[in-house]
Symmetry: C3
Subunit: 199 residues, 3 copies
């Protein structure tokens, strides 16, 4: 295990920042990414550009992370997890990859996929194999037991779809299956799906 | 970032204890406070006297902490959070400060206030902007979505008021709007509020 | 506090592995056990053989841990906790030992017992004094407020018994009070209790 230091990165490679108290084994870290103290990232992990990975995190072999992903403190990501671009994981959110773990019995893992621009609330728990759709928002403390549609706002235990979210993170209010966000984006609701109609 | 060591504090400043594996940037730490390993406290943080801050914590710029506050392991506190005197935060409790986070979209934060003597159960999650009243108790694993009254016992997901608590942390049983705790304190219930009538 | 190093253990004592970033004060660690980075284990802790203790864990004086126990990342275990052989604690699961904590008021603790072969899901929260039965499975994100029977599958907030589990970690389907797992084990259901009838 290599212990990367700030100064070393600053001198030999200014492309990204690794806190001296982090343990980084992968070499595949994109430009502009920052990784904070007491976090451990294994060798077979790919991390995109301009990400921010907090303190006390663990990222296991086999995880793939896109660009501009924000991972707050205290999060473990297990083999098979995929975070697409612009994902936000709130502090102490819990992603799993094994449905019925047992000491002494090895099982297949089922990775979670968090799609582009989705946000996972602080302390939320996500079951193995779940897909969280693009620009969805999972509420703090939610328990996500099944897939969440694109743009959905889902919360509760188990999490249920309670509304819809804009790309920018504001709630959408639909009238006659149309919504205009205060950020200017327009959406339609077709067959229960939110579709961007104007940016 | 300065890495404070036990010995250094012991020799030059015996007023408080900082574990050698902690990263402490603030200078405003009260007498008798102890801070344990792998915790990081930023520069613009004020911590009172006789506090105990556990391992694997993170305290962001802009947090204010009173006297005799107990913060157990694995807790992140974000800008705007206020912990009054004698607050207790159970292990892995989760305090937030942003309602709808999105990577790439900056929003205003709403700080949480935990009032004097209140206790937050282990693994509880508290939404942004919430005020937890004086001597309230939030149950373990609760999801707190709105303000909790003084002396309330609240739990569940979302948390609801289920009873009332004494200053000393025992449950109060009201008869004819009066309660006497086994610790000797007496309380009245007026217009749905608990009021200390004799200490 | 002694900081044990990998190399030291490798040279003087090859029986177990301690990551160099861990702080280990107990000497009672069984053969084949591995303890990972930024975890702290106090002096009066007993840990059996072939255990795996993840990163960012804290184990307090007075905890007893059997053989082949798996403790994932970010878990604190408090005085009085007993983990029997082959227990699995999912990442960020939260075990407690104090029912109504208050800063300044010391109370008696009530330890949790997790019985042989039981699995606790990621992010689950367990109240003080609870006993989780042998080969039970507690779902991810569950809040366990009372004892869980042997072989039960329990989840929800509060957790309720929703089914039954084999020793191997697969669900049991009972017909006429008999179940045969695909692993070959057979069970009977007598007076609401699951009993192994053939291995």
């Amino acid at each position: 295990m290599k212990r990367s230091s700030t100064s070393k990165n600053k001198s030999s490679n200014k492309r990204f920042f690794i806190h001296p108290a982090a343990l980084i084994e992968t070499k595949r870290i994109g430009k502009g990414t920052r990784i904070w103290g007491w976090s451990h990232i294994q060798e077979d992990v790919v991390i995109g550009e301009d990400c921010n990975i907090g303190e006390h995190c663990f990222i296991e072999n086999g995880v793939r992370i896109g660009n501009k992903v924000i991972i707050k403190n205290g999060i473990s990501l297990w083999s098979g997890t995929i975070l697409e671009d612009e994902v936000f994981l709130g502090p102490n959110s819990v992603l799993t990859n094994e449905r019925f773990p047992r000491s002494g019995f090895r099982k297949e893992w089922e990775g979670i996929r968090i799609c582009q621009g989705a946000s996972i609330g602080a302390g939320a728990v996500i079951l193995p194999g779940v897909v969280v759709g693009r620009y969805a928002t999972v509420g703090a403390g939610a328990l996500v037991t099944k897939d969440i549609p694109n743009h959905a706002l889902a919360y509760g235990s188990p999490a249920k779809v309670k509304g819809w979210m804009c790309i920018c993170g504001l709630k959408l209010v639909f009238k006659n299956k149309k919504a205009k966000c205060s950020c200017g984006r327009k959406f339609g609701l077709k067959a229960g799906k939110v579709i961007l109609t104007a940016e």
